[in-house]
């Protein structure tokens, strides 16, 4: 919704002043990290937004030219640090495509479980932080309560809570643990003995059983909240043509009504992981009146749609994990195929995209017969999603900028690499 000064509904009196340049960020809390937006404003109305990025640039691609692929995996963790498992997965698959490796069934099932679990964690942060942007604090606390249990579970698997390096070339670094102590948060929420010993799979099942019904509560708390709807619906409308042209992917693209998900439409090396799973891909516009219907103000491709796609994906990820857990005990093969630290890469080049929580993360690897790749490139989904802010924020109010930028769910670590 583009506002003009002549629009009497919004601008009740003439607020025209001299043009002013306002620096939003890089320390502004609602820009999700070190993002600097340069606004050219006229009163409260923004005429132009210029994003300035690069404050978190760590030359990851240059470093990758001097390290072998297993050594570079920790650097992928630090790209989208809210979904590090999915970053590991994307890079590992790209290397596997380059060397022509096919991982065993067990490793694929493990990757699905872990990848989808991390997707839930990432979307929970996306939801909580978005609420925070718009001035509501409670959803953030609930989201982090749930995420804490996921991090505890991932910690039991690989020892790290944020930068996992768990999914690696050839499979994963470890199998699932046989016996763990119940995560403290889960014990408290489900009123169980805090010293309860159980298998990791059962702990995850217990968490999913508890998590499933919570989504409905988030919708009551946030999705259908009148203030939240007023601040998101009908605002920041991104047309499908524009989304495709600006390379938007993931929930941003699906929120604009383009039915595209790499888990279904991607390359065979990736989609075969998801073969046989029964799940839906949420795409706007939503006609399903679940959770009490869709607010009337919602338009295709607005902030609310992008947010709602993420919430629907959480429910779908829970379904996928349940099916993967059923499949895991009977999955054949090892959890990992050997890949030497100094294994030579063939002289060829590959590009592979995977569906990460924020969008399609692509890795382009050029081998030249050495163990270190000649060139590695990480195509960031958030980078492309953020590039649309300029056109999207023309003519909106300053207070709506956090609403639009927040709906893109960006992580600066991935944009700047």
């Amino acid at each position: 919704m583009s506002l003009t000064l002549e629009d009497p509904r919004i601008v009740e009196f003439d607020v025209r002043t001299d043009e002013m340049l306002v620096n939003m960020g890089p320390q502004h809390p609602s820009t999700h990290g070190v993002l600097r937006l340069l606004l050219r404003t006229d009163g409260e109305i923004v005429h132009e937004v210029t994003p300035h990025i690069g404050y978190l640039h760590r030359c990851a691609e240059k470093i990758g030219e001097n390290l072998s692929p297993p050594q570079w995996i920790p650097y992928t963790d630090r790209m989208d640090y809210l979904a590090a498992m999915n970053m590991n997965l994307g890079f590992s698959l790209a290397v596997e495509k380059l060397i022509g490796m096919e991982v065993p069934e067990k490793a694929m099932t493990l990757r699905v479980i872990i990848g989808e679990l991390n997707r839930i964690a990432s979307h929970l942060v996306g939801m909580g932080a978005y609420g925070l942007d718009l001035g509501t604090f409670s959803p953030f606390l609930y989201a982090f309560r749930e995420r804490e249990i996921i991090l505890d579970l991932l910690e039991e698997v690989c020892g790290a809570r944020l930068t996992y390096s768990y999914i690696t070339i050839g499979g994963t670094t470890h199998d699932l643990p046989d016996q763990i102590t119940i995560p403290p948060g889960l014990a408290q929420l489900t009123e169980r003995n805090p010293n309860l010993q159980l298998s990791w799979i059962n702990a995850l099942r217990m968490f999913l059983d508890w998590m499933g019904p919570r989504i409905k509560e988030y919708h009551t708390l946030l999705t259908r909240n009148a203030i939240f709807v007023r601040r998101t619906a009908g605002l920041g409308i991104l047309s499908p043509e524009m989304a495709m042209s600006y390379g938007c992917t993931g929930p941003v693209l699906r929120g604009s009504g383009v039915d595209y998900d790499l888990r279904r439409d991607g390359e065979a090396i990736y989609t075969r992981m998801y073969e046989g799973y029964n799940y839906k891909i949420p795409v706007a516009p939503f006609s399903d009146p679940a959770f009490g219907g869709i607010p009337q103000e919602v338009k295709l491709g607005d902030n609310w749609c992008r947010f709602f796609v993420r919430m629907m994906e959480v429910a779908q990820s829970i379904e996928i994990i349940r099916q993967a857990l059923d499949r895991y005990p009977s999955s054949k093969g090892e959890y990992r195929l050997p890949f030497k630290m100094n294994q030579k890469l063939p002289a060829d080049e590959v590009y592979l995209e995977t569906e990460c929580p924020k969008g399609s993360m692509g890795f382009y690897i050029v081998g030249d017969g050495d163990a270190e790749p000649f060139r590695v490139r990480a195509k960031s989904s958030c980078f492309c999603n953020l590039s649309v802010t300029g056109p999207l924020c023309q003519g909106v109010l300053i207070a709506d900028i956090p609403s639009i930028v927040g709906s893109l769910d960006i992580v600066m670590g991935e944009i700047d690499r």
Binding site: I53, H57, Y246, G247, V258, D348, R375
Partner: protein, 174 residues
């Protein structure tokens, strides 16, 4: 549409500007002359049987062998790689443009390639990044500034012969 058919379509339209179809590799590619890339992109974007609505990735690589022990050194050049995707027709295409490392062989003069920012919106930022890190001048680009490095940064870090600065605004580099 298969890449062979896309190649035939392009050859019948652009003739000699389409240099080569490379098959037998993991991702087959079509090499395009640097002067024709903007027209070829526009053609791929608009033709009803091609319809590449999205530029998935645009990146560049500096082909210069710095390892003296390497038995078969590569031919020094810079290449820009375009990965295209069509949402409506569900096919992909990979294009390559190869140019000399420096314009007219003068070290420091960036090679020139026409911009595709008017064809795909994301081309703008991807080309800024390629300019910033690899050092390619995209002609007709609306706003060719550095994007990840600071504006007063010198050199292009992903060049193979890049030397890390010893000092930047009083901060020691090594």
């Amino acid at each position: 549409m298969k890449i062979e058919e896309i190649y035939q379509r392009l050859v019948s339209r652009f003739g000699d500007s389409i240099r080569e179809l490379k098959t037998g590799v993991k991702d087959p590619w079509i090499e395009v002359a640097s002067t024709a890339i903007a027209d070829v992109s526009q053609f791929l974007r608009t033709e009803s049987d091609l319809k590449f609505e999205a530029l998935n990735d645009l990146t560049a690589a500096d082909w210069l062998e710095t390892d003296a022990k390497k038995k078969t050194p590569c031919d020094p050049h810079v290449e820009v790689v375009y990965h295209l995707y069509s949402y409506s027709l569900k096919h992909t295409c990979k294009l390559k443009v190869k140019v000399p490392r420096w314009k007219d062989g003068v070290a420091g003069e960036l090679p020139e390639i026409p911009s595709v920012a008017h064809v795909w919106g994301i081309g703008d930022w991807h080309e800024r990044e390629a300019y910033d890190l690899v050092g390619i001048h995209f002609t007709n680009h609306p706003n060719l500034r550095r994007i990840l490095c600071p504006e007063d940064w010198e050199g292009h870090p992903l060049r193979k012969d890049y030397e890390f600065p010893l000092e930047y605004h009083g901060v020691r580099g090594k």
